[in-house]
């Protein structure tokens, strides 16, 4: 191998790919350093580097890169996601430019970055980017193909959907994987809901950016959010939906009001920003769970 060790930020793409990137590298026998879970220190480091108006998860992402560049590693992996569904659906501009932004900020030199280009065609991740990555790392074509086959893409979310106990509400968590799966970013909402006696449901990670029913939306994760909420809206076992909306997320901001107006299942939008307080999150979750309980008592009708 020409590169001896690679750092993977535990942020954005790590969660979008369900841990695939680190597993793939490990199967190529590349030593992998995964940055630790997001905490205040990491977030503050990212905030120091990043623009004020950029979305909350990208600030955290910069913190993870900042942590990695201080480690004894040769390169940081930041794939460039270009398009999904053969160029019909696209990542937002900020996510697609993560590598360029990191370099422009002086956080990491371009030479120290691994930036394979990933396309998604109609059946999933095109192999081109993986071969590009493998070639950069000195891996053979056979080794890349083997590692690709051994890793199941998008199938290892950190949380598993739960079944509701009798009487307790089931709440589905809607949002981008890198918000839903990151407890620091989402204010530990999963644990808080469990403490309130709720069963928590998650969107499957499979087919990211894909929409079984074509939404016509331009942005990949907004299309996924819209598809998921439409499925959940027809699922009688879901009592309520909590939509985790990070500050200044354009694609989800655009559809938030539309979803709230057109979804029959009660939905609460929890805007997450760096100024939030745990107390505020608790209060809103408690109020929402109380509302659902009242609704159940009233026979499914909101008071």
């Amino acid at each position: 191998m020409s590169t001896s060790s690679v750092g993977v930020p535990r942020s954005i793409l790590h969660y979008e790919f369900g841990g695939f990137l680190a597993s793939f590298l490990a199967r190529l026998d590349v030593p992998v350093t995964l940055s630790p879970a997001t905490d205040r220190r990491i977030f503050q480091a990212g905030k120091h580097w990043m623009l004020d108006e950029i979305c909350l998860p990208v600030k955290a992402f910069a913190g993870h890169v900042s942590w990695l560049v201080q480690q004894d590693i040769d390169a940081v992996l930041i794939p460039v996601i270009v398009s999904h569904e053969n160029g019909r659906v696209f990542p937002c501009h900020v996510r697609t430019r993560l590598a360029d932004i990191v370099v422009a900020l002086g956080l990491c030199s371009r030479e120290r970055l691994l930036t394979p280009t990933f396309h998604f065609d109609d059946v999933g991740l095109s192999d081109d980017g993986l071969y590009e990555l493998g070639a950069t790392l000195g891996a053979s074509v056979e080794a890349v193909a083997r590692a690709r086959d051994e890793c199941s893409l998008f199938l290892s979310p950190e949380h598993v959907s739960e079944t509701s106990q009798t009487g307790s509400p089931t709440i589905a968590l809607l949002g981008h994987p890198y918000v839903v799966e990151d407890p620091w970013l989402n204010g530990d909402v999963i644990e808080r809901l469990r403490r309130l006696g709720c069963a928590v449901r998650f969107a499957p990670l499979g087919e990211i950016g894909y929409s079984p029913s074509w939404t016509g939306l331009h942005f990949d994760l907004a299309a996924r959010t819209m598809t998921t909420v439409r499925q959940w809206d027809n699922d009688e076992s879901i009592d309520g939906i909590v939509f985790l909306l990070p500050f200044n997320c354009g694609p989800d901001g655009d559809i938030a009001r539309h979803m709230a107006q057109n979804t029959r299942t009660p939905m609460m939008t929890l805007v997450l920003d760096e100024l939030r307080s745990d107390g505020g999150i608790c209060t809103r979750l408690e109020a929402f769970v109380d509302l659902l309980a009242h609704r159940q008592l009233a026979g499914g009708v909101l008071p």
Binding site: L51, E53, I54, V80, V82, S83, G87, F90, C92, H93, V94, T96, R97, A99, D100, I101, V103, A104, L105, G106, T115, T117, G216, L217, H218, F219, A222, L245, F247, N248, C249, G250, P251, D252, G253, D254, I255, A256, R257, H258, Q261, N262
Partner: protein, 358 residues
């Protein structure tokens, strides 16, 4: 049938030309006033970019006055942004208050999808030839409007008689709107060139030369910003803006390739989003030794938010001061004036000190 849309600066005139070829017409959008802005802000989600809020405000004002058939031009390629997926969103906003409301998205990523879009909205009898004529008029007017805007922006510095420039700009735009064919557009262009040649010119060098980069929507849409900047030009600052709406129509890879090569040190070559234009223009200004860069964008604009750190890096590497102005809900013209004045003072004193050092 009469359609309505948002203004895009004066680019609604180009949309009107496209519709006229197809036998339809377009209402003149209302001016962007404080009340239109407020309507947009109240209708939109807070995270929508400020340009989007202006658009919503203008649409809302037209729905109020009874317009029912909306059309909007959007690109569908990777360079597109929210405009590419707003149909359903607009239906949900306006459909309830206006039962006959319909939204027609025109545009596409090539003649094939453009024709499909036109046929799906205006009927299957639209021919390929009609489609090509409609788009020829659209792009002809977009380009001529862009030329007029850009020349007049520079003329506000070059010509000591700003009133004549203002009158020329208004008359040129009126003539573009009334032009019904490519030949008449060419005549308008020739007439404009002739009048420009007759205007008196300043002989003194500019206080500073500033290159403007940023979001096309906000630069076109909000006349108040450009008006403030034009006042700056009248005070002896040479302004240059190389954007234009042509950038927002889908650009093919052949056209993007040289720009991507130019931006190779800053941008990944596989991504074809609209930040490429801002970065390429900034690099041009740097190569031409402009005194400063002014980055103007709408708060919440995703392409420009992604471009901002990259533009800052370009300016830093070139040793040129850059000021970013985010125009958002709390935008105040006084604040803009103060910041721009301070920036011009900085550039002027920098230029003067360089001369002294030489």
């Amino acid at each position: 049938m009469r359609y309505f849309t948002f203004s895009w600066g004066k680019n609604y005139i180009a949309v009107r030309a496209l519709l006229r070829v197809l036998g339809h017409d377009l209402a003149t959008p209302p001016e962007i006033t404080a009340s239109v802005i407020e309507r947009g802000i109240s209708a939109a989600h807070p995270f929508l970019c400020f340009s989007g809020k202006l658009v919503l405000g203008q649409l809302q004002a037209q729905v109020d006055r009874g317009e029912q058939h909306m059309t909007f031009m959007s690109s569908l390629g990777p360079e597109a942004c929210r405009c590419a997926d707003t149909s359903e969103y607009l239906e949900s906003l306006f459909g309830t208050m206006c039962p006959a409301f319909s939204a027609h998205r025109i545009g596409g990523d090539g003649i094939g999808t453009a024709l499909d879009n036109l046929q799906s909205h205006f009927g299957p009898r639209i021919t390929r030839t009609q489609c090509m004529r409609a788009y020829a008029m659209f792009f002809g007017k977009v380009d001529l409007l862009d030329k007029i805007e850009r020349h007049c922006l520079a003329l506000f510095y070059h010509c000591p008689d700003p009133e004549r420039v203002r009158a020329l700009q208004a008359e040129a735009i009126r003539r573009v709107d009334h032009a019904h064919g490519m030949l008449s557009l060419w005549r308008v262009s020739r007439w404009f060139d002739r009048v420009v040649a007759t205007l008196p010119k300043r002989t003194s060098p500019p206080l500073a030369r500033i290159g403007i980069v940023g979001g096309e929507h906000i630069l076109s849409e909000l006349d108040s910003i450009l008006m403030r900047l034009k006042l700056l030009a009248e005070q002896g600052v040479l302004l240059d803006w190389r954007g234009g709406f042509r950038c927002l129509a889908r650009s093919n890879e052949a056209r993007l390739a040289p720009l991507k090569e130019q931006c190779g040190a800053y941008l990944s070559p596989d991504v074809s989003t609209s930040e490429i234009f801002s970065c390429a223009h900034a690099l041009d200004f740097a190569a031409e030794r402009y005194d400063g860069l002014l980055h103007i964008y709408a708060f919440g604009c995703m392409p420009q938010t992604a471009a901002k750190p990259i533009l800052q890096r370009i300016a830093k590497d070139a040793g040129i001061p850059m000021m970013s102005l985010a125009i958002g809900d709390r935008f105040a013209e006084e604040g803009l004036d103060n910041r721009v004045e301070a920036f011009v003072d900085l550039l002027h004193s920098r230029r003067t000190s360089r001369k002294v050092a030489v």
